[in-house]
Subunit: 419 residues, 2 copies
Amino acid sequence: MADPITDVLVTPVAFADPPLLNAAGVHQPYALRAVVRVRTASGRTGLGETYGDAPHLALLRRAAPVLRGLDVFDTNRMVARVAAELRGADAPDAHGLTGASSPTKSLARVVSPFEVAMLDLAGQLTERPVHALLGGKVRDAVPFAAYLFYKWERHPGGEPDGWGAALDPDGIVAQARAMVARYGFGSLKLKGGVFPPDAEIAAVRALRTALPDLPVRLDPNAAWTVRTSLRVARELDGDLQYLEDPTAGRQAMARVAADAPMPLATNMCVVAFDHLPEAVRLGSVQVILADHHYWGGLRASMRLAAMCETFGIGLSMHSNSHLGISLAAMVHLAAAAPALSYPCDTHTPWAVDDVVTSPLSIVDGSVRVPDAPGLGVTLDEAALDRLHRQYLECGITARDDAGYLRTVRTDFRRQVAAW
Amino acid sequence: MADPITDVLVTPVAFADPPLLNAAGVHQPYALRAVVRVRTASGRTGLGETYGDAPHLALLRRAAPVLRGLDVFDTNRMVARVAAELRGADAPDAHGLTGASSPTKSLARVVSPFEVAMLDLAGQLTERPVHALLGGKVRDAVPFAAYLFYKWERHPGGEPDGWGAALDPDGIVAQARAMVARYGFGSLKLKGGVFPPDAEIAAVRALRTALPDLPVRLDPNAAWTVRTSLRVARELDGDLQYLEDPTAGRQAMARVAADAPMPLATNMCVVAFDHLPEAVRLGSVQVILADHHYWGGLRASMRLAAMCETFGIGLSMHSNSHLGISLAAMVHLAAAAPALSYPCDTHTPWAVDDVVTSPLSIVDGSVRVPDAPGLGVTLDEAALDRLHRQYLECGITARDDAGYLRTVRTDFRRQVAAW
């Protein structure tokens, strides 16, 4: 049953993305991803999906050839080979929403789609779903939260995307109602850090009034000072399931956590294993948003999940703009992680395009866990070609929310401790 | 490729064991183990090995039927079913060398041999070694330490076992030389807690003088007070690779660790995941001896290994008297755990019997990692029958080192903070 890897293809794609506002700026008309295809001697193809920014893409392409000859189960050796090949290379990360880049973080990002593709292959080979290779699903459906964004009605010069503008509490409530109506979400997450805190407090309260049964989270991406974070936390006492990254850094987060009435969550100040000891010591966070794309893959994320359980930290899941390969990987991970304690984030509703033939769908706020072999999704070759051409034509080579917003608001600077 | 579990056999065995002295007493003439056979519809058999004490055996037998119908990959569901079946049952542990029993600890012990047997089966099914299912080996050979014991020449009324008596530094040095000559060990571990500390200090110094190139560890199984632990630690500065469980409990260990010149190791005060937060907070230990038999299996031990790496704690491996199924499982685990930072413990040299046809062998102090499918060992049915009859005839139903020593030294009490 030997089936060594013969080649690895890395294909950048661009897909239409609405003008979603955040502390770093606004989403550009196209979001970038890279689709990884790992092929074996028997002709099988395993799929992975990751960031499509140029510096990351360069590392992926540099690393890809070293997978040749590996057994699809041998992910430890894959990591060792990639580490040896990259020798501490670093892929700077322009938007910086998960903090400064580093060689360790870059390595974790590069190996992740390869590991996912290898698990997809191992699943196909054993006729088992990926979750079975992680120990087996502990739930049959994975709940997701509606991911609400302040947004414009359209990109400058573009067509309306159909979701309408959302620039005040009424707009956010309308967006929430539309998203809940379409997908049945049972909880809400608002991306904040866009307007002054009082405006975002008003939006949260409007959501609580309009949809009182749905828990709400707020994520200002570290746009606030400690003092502001504590004021908002007190004002929203009873209204937030958790408050995500109100301020920057494990020390400042610990100062907020000490007095905030709700749990603090993060996908910014604890984004690598070497951040955990300090976060545990200081009590910086009560919830970690796992993300296999930057934690080093699905097995590494399972280890993170175990650490959260052991150290009494809640577990949720982070999302960037993504396509259906990532959604499938996220669902298998969430299915197999006993510690998952909150619905996951996903940008799925915001992406109209996909690279898989039958994307997993969100029904009643959840995705049914696929039990087909591997990831359970199939590449749509025509769509991949189309989105790759779109990548070549769109002229975007790295995410730059700030630069894009500055084309409209020339004085914009990223909101870090802005309030 | 579906191959559901059809039945599970749990067979207690007894095998001849030399009179090895420790803080709890002395090893009885027979050590007990239980051999677990998990069978599938296709006729495959997966092997596991665990403790053979009666209370544990009762829980194993109660749990075994719930595995029926499970897929061999579905270890998470196995754990959930066993937990539901045992409903918080506890198997008291007479010798107490890993602390008081608890429902959580008992559950981890019961699921472990089932998980190992399921991984053995998953490996056979995928034609991959068990280490491949844990991410793949990161080393081709696993180093072990010579496990030295104070011992009598023979059991009362028995024949000499050929190792001779070891009741003073000369005896320990002779034992070390014999064991190194036979197995090529590159490091030494002395089980202490038997004689007053100065006698054991003298034994360590004698080992250092006789075999200066071989690192030495000393494990008195918490026989000392904090004050004595610190005195011994200072006297053996430069002579010990690590000092294992000098005293009892995470708080007392932390007080020793704060001033001891060498790392402290444990397989007594951190033996379950819920012990880790306090141990990390207090700095109780610098090395944890993993043991899949009580940490809940191989995947759980891999999670422990990841936590050790993340929290800057060294990783070694603990051993109880065991046979060749456990040795194989230990080797696959050690092969796949990148964080392993010390040679592992094993009682292999002390066991003359086995239940596998071709036990893995220790050559040049290491065991070559098997790459055959599954665990890579085959049950010797005739030997299993013989050792099972021996179990039925020997009259021992639970390990009782203290009770056995009291048949010789009527006033013996277990050495806890005795010095």
